[in-house]
């Protein structure tokens, strides 16, 4: 498994497409905690479950004023079809060109496979990684680790 960025590291900034004609930067959402959820691919069964779960847990994330961003190497059109099909209520970022560039910055790219790890980052409001976790690719990591990390953030 990759060596993902650890707690205490400043979160590398990025700007990625969030829809076919809109981009989103990490810098734009600073000021509140950010949950960055790298996942291997839209449509694959485990990912679907994971994103479906986060979709249901969103109100809990919002209690911590945290913004959830999903991120994979799929393109923006693929993301929009996936998000519509699964009725996802949070943005999916397309780390598509150059492929996996943001995942690489976070140490979450799988070279041989060409997709990202199933890696989670909780970034505090000042832009420092407060918690990170890399799950085996076939295992849905759930949401308990994220919630605990959000609770432990300094107010």
């Amino acid at each position: 498994m990759a060596n993902i960025l650890e707690r205490g590291t400043p979160a590398p900034d990025f700007t990625l497409p969030v829809t076919p004609d809109q981009k989103l930067s990490l810098g734009e959402v600073k000021g509140n905690p950010v949950i960055l959820a790298f996942y291997p691919a839209d449509w694959s069964p485990v990912c679907g479950d994971q994103m479906a779960l986060y979709n249901e847990v969103l109100p809990e994330f919002q209690k911590h004023r945290a913004r959830l961003l999903g991120i994979s190497v799929d393109g923006a059109w693929c993301h929009s079809a996936f998000a519509r099909d699964r009725r996802l209520h949070f943005p999916l970022l397309a780390d598509f060109e150059p492929k996996g560039a943001v995942a690489r910055k976070y140490g979450a790219y799988r070279e041989g496979d060409g997709f990202t790890e199933r890696a989670l980052f909780v970034i505090d409001k000042t832009g420092i990684i407060a918690w990170s976790y890399c799950s085996p690719v076939a295992v849905n990591p759930g949401a308990d680790g994220i919630l605990q990390a959000l609770e432990e953030l300094p107010r």
Binding site: D49, A52, N55, E56, E60, R86, R87, A143, D144, L147
Partner: protein, 176 residues
């Protein structure tokens, strides 16, 4: 390994002897096809262990991919408030393929419950907090999809065919 963070209490839906030595707990979604397939398997496991096992069911509806899951969970809770939880639970799973709001009302009628009262309870979200409480207890305990089973408070990972669950319960029993 993930453990059950919210212990079983009398508030839970418990089938079998409340003081049984073994506990199988399921987080389930009434519209999830995998849970539908697990339903008869759980029945067989219960039969296998008899009085030694209690079965606990908690709601874990994935409401955005399963549009009827929340209403079904609330209907089961409505039945539970009228002392008929397990009958409703079984009927919903047995009729899972045609799950819809009218079906829930018809099932309530079949159980001798008051369909208009169920319709009102659903409209008012009377049992929504209870269902959400179950869901969040699952999230806390590392439930990542449905069905997720806990055996004696430990999450059961991997397959859940009859033989798998029986073996896991036996193993757990040998440990305690």
């Amino acid at each position: 390994m993930a453990t059950l963070k919210v212990p079983v209490t009398p508030e839970d839906h418990i089938q079998g002897d409340p003081n049984a030595e073994l506990t199988l707990l399921e987080y389930g979604d009434y519209e999830c096809p995998h849970c539908g397939r697990a339903h008869p398997i759980v029945k067989r496991v219960q039969k296998h262990f008899g009085r030694r096992l209690r079965f606990v069911f908690r709601n874990f509806p994935l409401t955005q991919i399963h549009p009827n899951a929340q209403a079904a969970a609330e209907a089961a809770e409505f039945a539970g408030a009228n002392g008929r939880f397990w009958e409703m639970h079984d009927l919903i799973y047995e009729n899972q393929e045609r799950l819809s709001p009218p079906l829930l009302l018809a099932l309530a009628e079949e159980l001798g419950l008051d369909p208009p009262a169920l319709r009102e309870a659903l409209a008012a979200g009377e049992f929504e907090p209870r269902v959400r409480r179950d869901f969040l207890s699952g999230v806390r305990s590392g439930v990542n999809g449905t069905p997720t089973f806990f055996i004696g408070g430990q999450r059961h990972d991997g397959p859940w065919e009859f033989e798998d669950l029986v073996a896991a319960i036996e193993t757990r029993r040998a440990l305690v």
